[in-house]
């Protein structure tokens, strides 16, 4: 299926996550993000996408989750035992679902808070970089972030993550609740950042149509398992993906729709 890739920035090997000691959230997820690559993790609600990201960024502990089995490697180094801030220091940035900006801080203070690990010079350089990608944040830099629009907040959340000088940027549903033109704009900026900064990106999305436009590879996760992995082009052509994630074949006549849905082929 996938040819061996020379250098991976991130490798998950059979990762299993348990919440509260009992409930199994992901059951053996393996994936691979190549250095400088852009990969999507697609799946429906509750499939385990966010849990996968938290197992990488180390934010499971606050929700009483833990990696029970398997290992997470960042540039070859096992990071399972590291605290979240140490993973950020290594270069892993996690843009949380639902944006989660610091609402009572202004955008510029949000960016300052996110450079706790860096010197003042790095901070002002990174800030300039963020403002050049997101000029709208610069316009609104003095308004409390809670009053920004959804799109601006998403830009701020991405900008805030960029302030940590990541090597891997992970985004959890950046398109959530945004108008399509904003999704397109933000995704364009993401692929620019990927190209210009050489940043590897792991994009978690329900919006498969938008995501497959910008990534090179995609993984499909369902009920806590990776069920498919292929290049974005191949995924777009796959009839199952088309039916279940891309909104069905275009030439379908609604009168002919059966009352049961076709069974997903990978479920046995």
């Amino acid at each position: 299926m996938s040819e061996p890739i020379a250098a991976s920035v991130l490798t998950l090997n059979n990762v299993e996550v348990v919440y509260d000691y009992v409930s199994l959230a992901i059951k053996g997820v393996s994936l691979d993000v190549p250095e400088g690559g852009m990969v999507a993790l697609l799946g429906a609600n509750g499939a385990g996408k966010s849990t996968t990201l938290k197992s990488i960024s180390g934010l499971l502990a606050a929700e009483r989750g833990e990696v029970r089995r398997g290992d997470v490697r960042f540039r070859g180094q096992a990071i399972g035992a590291l605290m979240p801030q140490d993973r950020v220091r290594l270069g892993i940035a996690h843009v949380l679902e639902g944006r989660r900006v610091f609402e009572h801080l202004t955008p510029s203070e949000n960016l300052i808070a996110a450079s706790a690990l860096h010197s003042r010079q790095d901070m002002s350089r990174n800030m300039e970089m963020v403002y050049s990608y997101f000029p709208r944040l610069h316009e609104r830099r003095a308004t409390p972030a809670g009053y920004l629009s959804g799109g601006e907040q998403q830009m701020l959340a991405i900008g805030r993550a960029l302030m940590t000088q990541p090597k891997l940027l992970m985004l959890d549903e950046p398109s959530l609740g945004l108008a399509p033109f904003l999704v397109a704009e933000i995704f364009q900026i993401l692929s620019r950042i990927n190209r210009e900064e050489g940043l590897s990106i792991l994009l978690v999305e329900q919006n498969a149509i938008a995501a497959l436009e910008i990534v090179s590879h995609g993984y499909l996760i369902e009920s806590g398992r990776i069920v498919m992995h292929d290049s974005a082009e191949a995924l777009k052509r796959n009839p199952d993906i088309q039916e279940f994630y891309l909104g069905g074949a275009e030439n379908k006549n609604f009168r002919d729709i059966k009352h049961y849905r076709r069974r997903k082929r990978w479920l046995t």
Partner: protein
């Protein structure tokens, strides 16, 4: 009633109020940097005073040395409290954390009593008992010193919250998970806020002991501190300062008017009324942050 006497009550009230602000600002500090309402601030104030006295009386250090030693000790007590009691609760429901601070309040007060006993001790820090004369008005010198120090501390902390570190602490209080996600060491930030608050408590403890002696009643300053902090808006230092003056003036004037009529305890009634009315009429206080809701 004499207008001059009222004015004198109002001014002394304002100064006493600013001394309440010393306790209230400790509460605001922790709230502003970790969103925890600290109910242990009263007994931390008491403990701070006793630690300073321990350096002065038991170890024989002069007062000018005992106070900084007490402040440094309490700084580490604050860090210890976070490490032992609060770290495991990070991210847990606020009610559990609130109950933990209540438990700490009882523990620290009882522990202090166990170690040093319950008799009141003097805290001689060299402020003379002679009043200051402001025209025809008599101003309590100790209150004036306490109020001045409260204002200095206020300025210092306002400046601190504009620094990079201060912004980081405010970010923690907004969203722990988001703070972790950008590499902020939330635990260390919360520890720092407790340490600063313990320092503040020590200063408040020393000043209040110099007025009334060090005893268990120092822990009751929690009620004044909470009232001022809530009225000011919990996370606003400026709000706390203004609210403390407001509470002090109302208390001072009300007690000089009402006490002869109803026979005492009007100060407590004023506090209670202020706290209850704030919660009923303006729950976010004078300058507290609203939770931002976009439509």
């Amino acid at each position: 009633m004499d207008a001059l006497l009222l004015l004198e009550s109002a001014i002394n009230g304002a100064l006493v109020g600013l001394m309440y602000a010393l306790v209230a600002m400790g509460i605001v500090l922790i709230y502003k940097s970790s969103s925890v309402p600290n109910l242990a601030q009263g007994s931390m104030t008491m403990l701070g005073a006793y630690v300073v006295l321990a350096f002065a009386n038991n170890a024989g250090a002069p007062m000018w040395l005992a106070i900084p030693l007490g402040i440094v000790t309490m700084f580490f007590v604050g860090i210890g409290i976070e490490r032992v009691a609060l770290r495991r609760l990070a991210g847990r429901p606020i009610i559990m954390i609130l109950m933990m601070t209540l438990g700490l309040e009882i523990f620290l007060r009882a522990g202090t009593m166990t170690i040093w006993g319950g008799t009141a001790r003097p805290m001689p820090i060299g402020i003379s008992d002679a009043p200051l004369f402001l025209g025809p008005l008599l101003i309590n010198r100790a209150y004036a010193v306490g109020a001045a120090i409260a204002i200095v501390m206020f300025v210092l902390f306002v400046a601190f919250f504009r620094t990079r570190l201060g912004v980081v602490l405010r970010a923690i209080s907004d969203d722990y998970t988001a703070a972790w996600s950008v590499g902020i060491s939330v635990e260390r930030g919360v520890a720092l806020s407790w340490a600063m608050s313990a320092v503040m408590a020590t200063i408040a403890g020393v000043l209040w002991s110099s007025v009334q002696g060090a005893d268990q009643s120092l822990a009751l300053l929690l009620l004044k501190g909470i009232t001022v902090a809530v009225l000011g808006g919990m996370d606003s230092l400026g709000g706390a300062l203004l609210a403390s003056i407001l509470l002090g003036v109302v208390e001072g004037v009300a007690s000089s008017v009402l006490d002869p009529m109803i026979g005492g305890a009007s100060r407590e009634l004023v506090d209670a009324a202020m706290l209850i009315l704030t919660i009923m009429i303006r729950p976010h206080g004078l300058f507290g942050r609203h939770d931002i809701e976009r439509v």
